[in-house]
Amino acid sequence: MIHLSSRLRRAALAATLLAAPFASAHAADVALYPTGPSEDSSFVRFVNTGDTSISLEATGSKAILPLPPSKPASDFQPVAANKALVGAFILGTQRAPIDVTVKPGEFATVFGLVSAKGELSTKVVRELPEDFNALRASLAFYNLDSTCTQAGLKPAGRDVALFENVPNGEAKRRFINPVALSVQLVCAGKPQGAPLALGSLAPGQRYSVFAVPATGGTRVFFTNDALTN
């Protein structure tokens, strides 16, 4: 992070800083330091949209990340921006290649999709947050089901839109008050399935609700968008 450090310069700086007491603040002698990173942070996560286990294999390290239906979404992991992340989702003998490059400041979600015929594919959905807020909760809605048109979410039992008209393969995000919340998926203006309880949303936390294809309709599940420590 320190751009201009060298032993010589540091020694000179130390000598300056340790000199006799100053009559004025010798701010001009403070080392020139960066006032932020050269590039914004970027994150990626992986989500299994199906009801069977898939895993993620990283090319190179061959590290395996299982994504069982009981924990279908990984945490967001910090990655270097503008560098390709290469790997594959694995389902039995099927491999769906992953090749994703994340821009500075972006949160990318790589979905592993299993079709009704059992074919494995990938889909990348990107978010570039407009803002953050520690006083409110941040909720995103991802629509991964092409059969759910005019996809939206409403608070359960209320005719108010939290999200509406989210196209297939896209996401929208908004701030909401940090309260206990259940949501109802809406496709083409009609409620689909049972309400999904999100629990008590905490201020400053980020969450995602996913609408994914399922036998007999569209299924929704949600996750806290935690960052890997």
């Binding site: 100053f22 603040a25 701010a27 403070v30 942070s41 803002d131 953050f132």
Partner: protein, 237 residues
């Protein structure tokens, strides 16, 4: 004279280069808090941004001051100390963070919002995990230009960002303390002694009026670690 809310409180002040230079906040703010009866431990680390206080990081320069003692100014052997370690050692009633200029990316076209969010919230969560009240002091106006490329538009953006992202810490808006360019800088970013005196006095007043100080005063100060707070291990180097 009315007794200050800060009397008897233990306050840990952490910050960037504005707390590392003789005549800077390590004297003006520290002295003001001392005058109000607080037991103060101030540590400055040049260039340290929020997440640097989660680890021990070597920085170009720093300073450490405890109670009524003189500031110990350090060169390239200065380090930050993880906040959890500092809080465990000092057991402060209040943590005051003076961090903003090191995170504003004045010299970059784009503000690294995602990085700043990650960095700020990592530190506030670490402090909240210790059940310690905190106050975040945002950046003041500087003089446009200079080697750091500080500018009014970005400092306003940084201040707005911090104001909505430092909770549960209280936010102190330093931009409200002066007009742009009112306090003379030596390099666009660091003030003369007069500027630091004004800023330090204004911060101390804001701390005394903060919800955090009122809450601590209401519930009583924690048992102090000691009347004289020991310097952090990282700062003794």
């Amino acid at each position: 004279m009315a007794l200050s809310l800060l009397a008897g409180l233990s306050i840990l002040v952490l910050g960037e280069s504005h707390l590392t230079i003789r005549g800077s906040l390590i004297e003006s703010l520290h002295d003001e808090l001392n005058k109000q009866g607080a037991a103060v431990h101030s540590i400055g680390a040049c260039g340290a941004s929020a997440q640097d206080w989660l680890v021990k990081k070597t920085v170009d320069c720093g300073a450490d001051r405890t109670g009524t003692g003189k500031a110990v100014v350090r060169g390239p052997d200065a380090t930050t100390t993880p906040i959890g370690q500092l809080i465990a050692t000092d057991k402060p009633d209040l943590v005051v963070l003076v961090i903003g200029d090191t995170m504003a990316s004045y010299d970059k076209e784009a503000f690294p919002k995602t990085w700043a969010w990650q960095s700020v919230t990592s530190l506030t969560k670490a402090i909240a995990a210790t059940n310690t009240r905190c106050i975040w002091v945002g950046p003041p106006w500087g003089t446009p230009g200079g080697q750091y490329k500080k500018n009014d538009v970005r400092v306003q953006l940084m201040s707005r960002f911090l104001s909505t992202n430092v909770a549960p810490c209280d936010y102190v808006d330093s931009l409200a303390f002066s007009k742009p360019g009112q306090w003379t800088t030596t390099d666009g970013q660091h003030f003369t002694v007069a500027g630091y005196k004004s800023w330090g006095a204004a911060i101390a007043k804001a701390i005394a009026a903060s919800d955090s100080a009122k809450a601590v005063a209401r519930t009583g100060a924690k048992p102090a670690a000691a009347a004289v707070i020991p310097a952090a291990p990282g700062a003794r180097k």
